[in-house]
């Protein structure tokens, strides 16, 4: 698979490989049809009305985000509902939620690449984009939640006249490294993967501006064998680099909590359980985005039921790990005999925030069990609903972990309730706006599916049946 498939190779792809599973690409596609269909979204096709509607809504939300952020910086984090004892709330909930969502991209791109799961091809590009945008949203929260955000760079190890380093025992410093590394590697990985497609767009673009812009972004890609060779090596190396990050980022986010002595946070289980939760929510988000995308742009041939089914299986597996995590949390609390841990467990289930806890159990444990059924996995609207439910459930999980642990800890005298303010909600809705705006722009201006990889797939499928 080292030579680039040429557009003129026009033999029809044969039906999928065997009867065990649905095809990863619908039969009947040629190199040309793949290229046409995907590049047309960017270059020639009129954007559908739904794109404009979606983009408009997202853009309004983005403006809400900017307004909320501006007011926050001018006034202080007191705009939010945080208090003592609940000093972290929506800020960190949303941070962890977004970071979790950002996990699917790397997993799909890197881990599945290394495992040679070819079905990843149709979804990796926008999963990576989604990762990037989610990490961007996530990264903003720790900055904005600081009391004095203008000195955020004190968390970075840089030479300074004060002769001070960050305090390396703090998991928040680890977090800075983990998230920034993850963001950087994700960006590189995504961009490197885009280069051959940039060249395709450059070549097919009619308008001068598009030719220049895509030309610059293609970095002189000519499709020579040397290019392809170096590209493959670089991509594999990056995949190798990115793979440990899938585990490390969310482990460290888990350690943000686990290193504390707060009941409900002080749990050794957190790193693996957080990683599973992140993949769980990441796949749910990919599904949430892929289902409308394939419907609107007619990409059912490329994002097939097989993709959706596989993602549903990953969700089921990680969902079970997460459920096991919930069970073990409760078991540890009981088995430890620690009165504070046990109180926390009871308080989660029966205290003032019990509704969030039970909603979380329904969303993350009960509902995903439907995915055991093949019929459910092939029912696209139902999958969409389940994915949404899991997204909500994972947000609630972070709420339960953060708020219910903090609001009643050791001394009953300091117990208090947390209620979000309108600014908490505006900031959250706004960050969704930021995410969607970036995503809509991505759909409009970049190929949502890796064209050259699909062409490879067409070629491979063809050869396999030749």
């Amino acid at each position: 698979m080292s030579h680039p498939p040429s557009e003129s190779a026009g033999a029809a792809a044969q039906p999928g490989q065997g009867s065990l599973s649905a095809p990863v690409i619908e039969p009947g596609h040629t190199f040309a049809s793949v290229t046409d269909k995907i590049s047309a979204i960017v270059l020639s096709r009129q954007s559908p009305r739904s794109w404009f509607v979606g983009f408009a809504i997202s853009f309004v939300l983005l403006m809400v985000f900017l307004y909320a952020t501006g007011y926050l910086l001018a006034t202080g984090v007191g705009l939010w509902g945080n208090n003592v004892p609940v000093a972290w709330a929506f800020d960190i909930i949303n941070f962890v939620w977004w970071i979790g969502i950002g996990h699917a991209g790397t997993l799909i791109s890197a881990v599945l690449l290394l495992l040679r799961q070819e079905w990843r091809t149709s979804i990796n590009r926008f999963a990576e984009a989604m990762t990037l945008f989610a990490v961007a949203c996530a990264g903003l929260y720790p900055l904005l939640h600081l009391g004095r955000p203008w000195v955020f760079y004190w968390l970075l190890p840089y030479p300074n006249t004060m002769g001070l380093w960050p305090q390396f025992r703090s998991p928040l410093v680890w977090d800075v490294f983990a998230v920034s590394t993850y963001g950087a590697v994700s960006l590189l990985f995504w961009y490197v993967g885009l280069i051959p497609d940039m060249a395709t767009l450059r070549d097919r673009a009619r308008r001068r501006v598009a030719q220049v812009v895509y030309g610059i972004l293609a970095m002189g890609w000519r499709g020579s064998a040397v290019h392809w060779h170096r590209y493959q090596v670089a991509y594999l190396l990056l995949a190798g680099l990115a793979t440990p990050l899938v585990v490390s980022v969310h482990s460290i986010v888990g350690l943000d909590f686990a290193t504390s002595l707060l009941p409900g946070w002080h749990v050794t289980l957190f790193p693996p359980y957080f990683v599973a939760g992140a993949i769980f929510s990441g796949f749910a988000m990919v599904m949430t985005l892929a289902i409308p995308l394939r419907a609107v742009y007619g990409l059912e041939d490329f994002i097939t039921l097989r993709h959706l089914g596989n993602m549903a299986k990953v969700m089921l597996a990680t969902g079970l790990i997460v459920a096991y995590g919930y069970l073990m949390e409760a078991f540890f609390a009981w088995y430890s005999g620690n009165e504070y841990e046990w109180f926390l467990t009871i308080n989660r289930a029966l205290g003032p925030y019990a509704a969030t806890y039970w909603s979380l159990i329904v969303c993350n444990v009960a509902v995903p069990q439907l995915l055991w059924f093949r019929a459910v996995r092939r029912n696209v609207p139902l999958l969409f609903v389940i994915a949404l439910v899991v997204n909500v459930g994972m947000w609630l999980e972070r709420f339960v972990i953060i708020v219910t642990s903090l609001h009643r800890d050791f001394l009953p005298s300091s117990w208090d309730m947390y209620y979000p303010t309108v600014w908490d909600l505006a900031q959250f809705a706004g960050s969704i706006g930021l995410f969607l705006t970036l995503l809509f722009l991505f759909i409009r201006f970049l190929p949502v599916i890796a064209i050259f990889e699909l062409r490879e797939l067409v070629h491979d499928t063809e050869e396999g049946h030749a």
Binding site: T75, V84, Q167, F410
Partner: protein, 1057 residues
């Protein structure tokens, strides 16, 4: 010249007025003044003026929610607009000191002795002054009413001094005027007065103990024999005075000696926090307890406190046995005790004693009769005179007089029945006999009993002059308003509860041109040119004898007390006029048949309303309810259930035809069918801080039932939000406040080896606390760590808080606030859980399994002061990403404000939740005058920064510098934290735990010492002494928290957790 009837205060009848309604009261049409202002305010010139003068608030003009503030500012701006022409500072050449003022060293504070008064009585204080500006108040150790301690009011008075809302100009009928014009007016009145022998001149003051003022008034009355002097103090001790008169047929004051008392029975007397002399009484009472607790087995006697009261007080919270009893039944209780003790004249007629009550009476009687001469029974100001008389009778019969209680000459200059005195004034006002009314301090329009209709009758006074520190309700309805100088700005004098006089000296020239009562009385006497200083100095120079002229005066000023001025002890005879006892007891029967008893009490933080504009006191959580910024009608759980009301439900309270709306708050330990109404709220004219908060209890207080009234309570469908700093009252069965029974503790501690292994010895049921080990004294658990302990050489600071002695009085909280520049945040932010107090007092209840009292019926109350524990293994430090909180070599957990970025993880990881975060810009950095208030040794924190208790590191540094200069170690007791200094009961001890001879080390080695949440391995440097309770053996040993704890600890060790 009579008052314009349209000048009735538009905001007056607004009980529970929301801020919006109050602002609505500024509607045009009330006064020409406001109309013109609104016209003026609309002009572009005015707006540009405002923007120039108040740039920060200028934008609020465009902001709907900011309009109210803007209206307030307009008032101020208008005043300034009028004043700019004449009060501009002249340009002058500034010359540095040619000769430095005596003792003034820049950066080193000076301390001056003076006093602050409350209800007329002095508490001696030392005021810290930095380069001429007073910043902090400490107690005066020489003063008999202070002994070095202060209360929350004294601590907060420094804020009142700088309060920008204090009245700043003389006002005449609502317009700015001058002192000179006032003098001219007065001078015009004087000839007429002289002709009439002073007829028509009426003077209204509060309780006067000031010898100088009393002397001045006497001389004024000498000059105007037909003039009248009325006194009214809304929380005055009329009943106490009447009780003494009933018993002895003469006016005497009581002086109690709690240090000599072994058994105390308090009949609704809050002697630990609510009486004149409470600071001293609390100290004396706790001294006995402390000495016994700190030397177990030495045979030191322990006292026992019985309290009967309708509504929980701090004294009730400290009681070994407390009985909630509605106010009207206390009298029969007192008579029953007297009968049991066989006091002559009491035959036991009264309420039938049965069940628990019978056991209670038996125990009290047994203890009191077993401790003849060392017992003490006292009644509170809220009890009718008859109860006081019974108390006097019992004390007399048991031989306590002369030992635990002494009768002394009255401290007040002229003891009077003040209610009658005010009623007399109002009667004369109504009949238009009052030509010239001079009100020296006080705010009778607000505080006078509702049935007197003081405000309405004030309009019949021809000329009314009001001296007060705020332009308040009374000022608004008076013709002349004279701004009063603050006590820290004036020369004056006052006497303590035992009669000792203190000369008040000013710390600073009047900031706002205030005048003193001395000057106003002098002006009335035609001596307007005399200053307060001359008046006070002359008074004392005439009376002080000394070898060298002026030496005694200077010594009295320096010491803060005038020697030899204590009141003389009187020998009195129990001589109740026959029949008067029964009459007295019938006094409070008025309004019988009404279903609910309404009990009026002073507010624990804003007193009678005079501190309404003091933000520190408004935000200070009430010791028992933990409410701030509001008052509430307190009712018991059972009554709330019966009425179907819950917290924050608004009810109508009716007394006769008077009514007020009040939110309800459920108060554990409240007597059933009794509603407590804290006075002092519902102010409609005081300042930006205090207006429109709470409800006005005075609106239903009538002169014949001033303390306990019968009334009705009606539900409404409204709710009123209240904010509290502590939502949970239960310890959830956790090991937080440990309690030990005195007899068990003494028995076991007596057998203990001095430094033996205390922990293993006492099986379940014993005191849970265990001896500390090593210098760090961590309590029972040995630290388990992979790392070696950090060796602390030199000083290792630590603190011990004695929960037996802590009475929860809040003095330390305000002291900490004053010392450390802690901002207030306002009601809305407190409601969000963002109060900033570095030191808070946690209050927990634990139910007694008694049959009178359910869990909430009569719980045991515990106080636990909570501040940074300065953990040796501080969880906050490891999680800070920028090393903004670090440990120092003396064991302090330090907070570096300018390094803090505000991640707040430290707060999340603090098990004690003592860290406070500046969620918004809480410190007012714009108001110039408040800058004078700040302690220059403590950083002022901006928004986005975490802060917490530092163990008063600035005081440690000051002591270290002094010690280094003298090349010595810091002595024990040289560093006194602000909370420790203020504490009336010396419950807080701070020092070097490495020093084997230090007090703090000795306390840490007591078996009572324990570390809170020790099992977390935080190794806190602040530890607690378990609370000791001295129960009567036959009153049923209630479950003692510590006993269960002990068992559980043992069990925990066995299972290895």
């Amino acid at each position: 010249m009579t008052l314009d009837p349209t000048r009735r205060d538009p905001r007056a009848p607004a009980p529970l007025a929301r801020a919006g309604e109050a602002a609505g009261g500024l509607a045009p049409g009330n006064r020409a003044y406001w109309r013109s202002l609104e016209q003026l305010a609309a002009t572009p010139e005015f707006r540009s003026f405002v923007e120039r003068e108040f740039p920060r608030h200028a934008s609020e003009w465009h902001d709907v929610s900011g309009r109210r503030n803007f209206l307030k500012l307009m008032a101020a701006s208008l005043a300034l607009a009028g004043a700019t022409g004449c009060v501009r500072e002249p340009a002058e050449t500034i010359v540095p000191y040619v000769r430095s003022p005596e003792q003034a060293v820049p950066g080193k504070p000076l301390f001056f002795a003076t006093a602050t008064t409350l209800g007329g009585y002095a508490r001696g204080v030392l005021v810290e002054s930095h380069m001429g500006r007073p910043t902090k108040i400490e107690g005066n150790g020489e003063h008999p009413a202070s002994r070095g301690a202060t209360d929350a009011f004294a601590q907060a008075s420094i804020l009142s001094l700088y309060d920008p809302d204090r009245s700043q100009t003389v006002m005449f009928r609502g317009r700015i005027d001058t002192w000179d014009r006032f003098l001219t007016t007065l001078a015009a009145e004087l000839p007429g007065l002289v002709n009439r022998q002073g007829k028509g001149l009426h003077l209204l003051t509060g309780t006067v103990t000031s010898p100088t003022l009393a002397d001045q008034i006497q001389r004024l009355l000498g000059r105007f024999p037909a003039a009248e002097w009325h006194q009214y103090e809304p929380l005055g001790p009329d009943n106490i005075r009447a009780g003494a008169r009933l018993a002895f047929d003469s006016d005497v004051d009581m002086l109690y000696h709690f240090d000599r008392a072994r058994v105390v029975l308090s009949l609704d007397a809050d002697f630990l926090a609510g009486m004149h002399g409470s600071l001293r009484y609390a100290r004396d009472f706790m001294q006995t307890r402390r000495e016994a607790a700190h030397k177990p087995g030495a045979g030191a006697p322990m006292n026992r406190l019985y309290v009967v009261e309708p509504t929980p007080s701090l004294t009730g919270a400290m009681a070994d046995h407390r009985l909630p009893l509605s106010g009207g039944r206390i009298e029969s209780m007192a008579r029953a005790v007297a009968a049991r003790l066989g006091v002559e004249g009491f035959d036991g007629a009264g309420e039938a004693a049965e069940g628990v009550w019978d056991r209670w009476l038996a125990a009290v009687a047994e203890d009191l009769s077993g401790q003849r001469g060392a017992g003490l029974i006292l009644a509170g100001e809220g009890q009718p005179p008859g109860v006081h008389a019974v108390a006097h009778a019992i004390n007399g019969a048991l031989g306590n007089v002369g030992r635990t209680v002494e009768y002394i000459e009255p401290v007040e200059a002229r003891p009077r029945d003040q209610r009658a005195s005010l009623a007399d004034l109002v009667r004369r006002m109504r009949s238009s006999e009052v030509e010239l009314l001079v009100i020296l301090g006080g705010n009778p329009v607000y505080t006078a009993p509702a049935d007197l209709e003081f405000a309405d009758n004030l309009s019949r006074v021809r000329l009314c002059i009001h001296l007060s520190d705020y332009y308040d309700e009374t000022s608004f309805l008076s013709h002349w308003h004279i701004p009063a100088a603050h006590e820290l700005e004036s020369w004056s004098d006052a006497r303590a509860h035992d009669g000792t006089a203190t000369i008040l000296q000013p710390l600073i020239a009047p900031l706002y041109g205030g005048k003193t009562a001395h000057e106003v009385v002098a002006a009335l006497s035609g001596e307007a040119q005399r200053t307060s200083f001359e008046i006070v100095e002359q008074h004392w120079q005439e009376r002080l004898e000394s070898q060298e002229p002026g030496a005694a005066w200077r010594k009295a000023l320096h010491d803060g007390i005038v020697p030899g001025t204590a009141a003389e002890v009187r020998q009195v005879q129990w001589s109740p006029a026959s029949g008067t006892m029964d009459d007295a007891l019938r006094e409070d029967q008025a309004g019988d048949g009404e279903p609910v008893e309404i009990v009026f009490r002073r507010d624990p933080t804003i007193f009678d309303g005079r501190f309404a504009n003091n933000g520190w006191l408004q935000e200070l959580p009430k010791p028992l309810t933990k409410l701030c910024w509001d008052n509430a009608a307190l009712i018991s759980q059972a009554t709330a259930q019966r009425l179907g009301v819950a917290n924050e439900d608004v009810v109508e309270l009716h007394v006769g035809k008077h009514t007020v709306d009040a939110p309800v708050w459920i108060m554990p330990g409240q007597a059933d069918d009794t509603v407590t109404v804290p006075l002092g709220y519902g102010r409609w004219r005081t300042g930006r801080v205090g207006e429109g908060l709470g409800f006005n209890g005075y609106a239903i207080r009538v002169s014949d039932q001033p303390w306990t009234a019968r009334g009705r309570l009606k539900k409404t469908r409204r709710r009123y939000p209240l904010v509290t700093t502590q939502d949970h009252w239960s310890m959830e069965g956790r090991d937080l406040v440990r309690v030990a029974a005195w007899d068990q503790y003494e028995r076991q501690a007596g057998h203990r080896q001095p430094n033996g292994d205390a922990g293993g010895g006492d099986a379940g049921g014993g005191p849970a606390a265990q001896a500390g080990h090593g210098p760090a004294a961590h309590g029972g658990h040995e630290p388990v760590s992979l790392y070696p302990e950090y060796p602390y050489e030199g000083n290792a600071w630590g603190m011990v808080i004695d929960q037996t002695a802590c009475i929860g009085c809040n003095a330390c909280v305000v002291a900490c606030q004053a010392e450390n520049n802690i901002p207030i945040v306002g009601k809305e932010q407190v409601g969000r859980g963002r109060e900033m107090h570095w030191l808070r007092i946690d209050r927990y209840y634990e139910g007694e399994g008694d049959d009178v009292a359910g869990l909430l019926g009569n719980p045991q109350t515990f106080f636990q002061p909570m501040l940074c524990m300065h953990c040796e293994k501080a969880p906050c430090e490891v999680v800070c990403p920028v090393a903004a909180t670090v440990h120092d070599h003396e064991g302090l957990n330090e907070m570096i404000y300018n390094r803090c970025v505000g991640t707040r993880y430290c707060s999340n990881n603090c098990p004690y939740k003592v860290r406070r975060f500046n969620y918004l810009q809480y410190v007012d950095e714009k108001t110039e005058v408040l800058k004078l208030l700040r302690n220059p040794d403590v950083t002022v924190r901006s928004r986005g920064v975490m802060e917490k208790c530092t163990y008063c590191v600035q005081r440690i540094s000051a002591a270290r510098i002094d010690a280094k200069k003298e090349n010595r170690a810091i002595r024990d007791g040289e560093v006194v934290t602000a909370c420790q200094a203020a504490c009336p009961t010396q419950a807080i001890v701070f020092g070097n735990i490495n020093d084997g001879t230090s007090r703090v080390r000795a306390l840490k080695e007591l078996p009572l010492n324990y570390a809170l949440l020790d099992e977390l391995g935080t190794q806190p440097r602040t530890t607690y002494l378990a609370r000791l309770v001295n129960r009567h053996p036959r009153l049923g040993a209630a479950p003692i928290a510590g006993a269960q704890r002990g068992e559980r600890d043992q069990e925990g060790e066995r299972t290895g957790t």
